[in-house]
């Protein structure tokens, strides 16, 4: 028995060594399999790249949404499209580099910048105080406010018309806070999910529905018989490109770029190319587009 005990210990030691060696091999193999990616990435090492470094490398990495039409999405041919992507293409052109798109999710946008896995985030990124502590925002290129959609038969075009009526909102949205604080006369019908809220409007359980104007505009196009009577209400949120905290050089470059593009009304052209087909004639570009970073 004692002998076999010894044998077990020896085997264990050999195995342990083996496991260590194997994990080592595995890491090496992984690194080998992805040399191209690791090579270019290792240069940046977690710190953001300067404009010169981006130019020298020949590619800029821009984080965009891949499933948020019409801001950032992938078309049926696998190409990135949308309002954010249109701008990203222009950034690439003006820097004289190729654009490498990195698909990001809403929740991980900040992390991508903190770890320098992308140079810029252009993913419908709303400027907030909390986020501004972790990343640096350049000048805005878009704005969102609340929109109110209602049935054509009883269209609501002024916020005052809502007094005494039932308004459908989603819990935790800006719409809920805005109406609770500013128009307590409006009866609110609250839902957990967007889809439930929109279905409630379809069923006639409320007189109107309010959420981000981009959302209601897109929804009204899909659903005949409903129109966005109020396109812009409440406090304006801006959407801007973001860079890693402290990467002032790239931020300044972006600020300049946005100002220069304002002279040729670039974002209106962008609107025509990407948002107009989705929001249709009904929407007014002035409610969404920000030119040269100036918000009135």
């Amino acid at each position: 028995m004692r002998k076999s005990g010894k044998m077990v210990t020896v085997t264990a030691a050999i195995l342990a060594a083996g496991v260590l060696a194997l994990t080592g091999c595995q890491a090496n193999a992984n690194a080998g399999g992805d040399t191209a990616a690791t090579k270019t990435e290792s240069e940046s090492k977690g710190t953001a790249r300067s404009v010169q470094q981006i130019k020298d490398s020949g590619t800029i990495k821009i984080g965009v949404f891949s499933d948020k039409k019409p801001f950032g999405y992938v078309d049926e041919n696998g190409a990135y499209q949308g309002y954010d992507v249109y701008f990203a293409e222009r950034i690439g052109k003006d820097l004289g580099v190729e654009v490498e798109y990195v698909p990001v999710e809403a929740a991980s946008r900040v992390e991508y910048l903190v770890t320098a896995k992308v140079d810029i985030i252009l993913a419908n990124f709303t400027v907030t105080k909390e986020r501004a502590e972790q990343v640096d925002f350049a000048l805005p290129y878009m704005k969102v406010a609340l929109g109110v959609v209602s049935p054509d038969g009883a269209l609501i075009t002024e916020a005052d018309q809502l007094n005494g009526k039932t308004l459908i909102v989603s819990k935790g949205t800006t719409a809920e806070t805005y109406f609770t604080e500013n128009q307590p006369e409006v009866k609110l019908l609250k839902f957990d999910q967007y889809s439930e809220a929109f279905n409630a409007l379809l069923d006639g359980r409320g007189d109107a529905l309010s959420t981000d104007n981009t959302e209601v505009l897109a929804w009204a196009i899909e659903n005949n018989g409903f129109t966005v009577g109020i396109e812009s209400l409440g406090s304006l949120d801006t959407i801007a490109p973001a860079v890693q905290k402290g990467n002032t050089e790239l931020k300044d470059w972006l600020d300049n770029e946005i100002k220069t593009l304002g002279e040729e009304e670039f974002f209106h052209k962008n609107y025509e190319a990407t948002l107009a087909p989705v929001y249709g004639e009904a929407a007014d570009p002035e409610n969404l587009v920000v030119e040269a970073g100036v918000v009135e």
Binding site: A12, L15, V19, K45, Y73, A116, K117
Partner: protein, 225 residues
């Protein structure tokens, strides 16, 4: 609007993109499964050793990996490693590392369980007929362990394949993510696309996982004799 949502599947490169996404899913899962089975067997044998230190270490590893959601592990490796060591890992490499860490832990525990389920008299009978230690393992213990292990391991493998849909969150565009991109791009023109695309993805997962369970059933049958 009158079109069936299925037409979305054949617009442009959509179907090819789904297949490409599936190949990424398969590449990541099979590499991780391979690594997990190999390291898991070793880990399971380690865990069977009656040494308090080894037992404590393996136990902590197993429980830590089990308690932590795979998503947290993915974020830890993908973003955390960059923050802590300033090393950039691509999404795919991070995914393989995380799924190997998880798979090894789960596989190790399965192997430990299978080994523990072999009654002591099997070892003793072997010794009684004069077999060496190696022979006992080779001819008595390992074949029985494998037989116990197959259904459990298959379960783990299919679970790993399905869990890879999480890697979309670290920027790897696998089959489910491609599906969501297609659905979202067609949202306004083909609202019924979601049903067809998710139906197709369901079929693709089935086509991948079903042969694996067929194989396991066959192996079980062969080894029964």
């Amino acid at each position: 609007m009158q079109d069936l949502g299925i037409s979305v599947l054949f617009q442009g490169r959509n179907f090819v993109r789904l297949i490409e996404g599936l190949l990424i899913t398969l590449r990541i899962s099979f590499i991780s499964v391979g690594i997990s089975i190999f390291l898991g067997v070793l880990l399971g044998m380690l865990m069977s050793i009656k040494n308090p230190v080894i037992k404590a270490i393996t136990r902590v590893y197993l429980e830590a990996v089990r308690i932590m959601p795979q998503l947290v592990l993915l974020f830890l490796v993908y973003f955390g490693v960059t923050k802590a060591f300033k090393v950039h890992l691509s999404g795919e490499v991070s995914a393989i590392i995380v799924f190997s860490i998880w798979g090894t832990a789960e596989m190790g525990d399965l192997v430990r369980g299978a080994l523990a389920s072999i009654p002591k008299h099997q070892y003793e009978s072997g010794m009684a007929v004069g077999l060496t230690k190696l022979q006992i393992y080779l001819y008595i213990i390992i074949p029985q362990t494998i037989r116990h292990l197959i259904p459990l391991a298959i379960n783990l493998i299919t679970r790993m394949i399905k869990t890879t849909s999480l890697i979309a969150l670290i920027g790897v565009v696998e089959v489910v993510k491609v599906g969501q991109q297609i659905i979202e791009a067609a949202r306004l023109t083909e609202p019924s696309a979601a049903l067809w695309i998710y139906g197709t993805i369901f079929l693709l997962y089935f086509l991948v996982c079903y042969p694996i369970s067929l194989l396991s059933a066959k192996l079980e049958k062969i080894w029964q004799n």
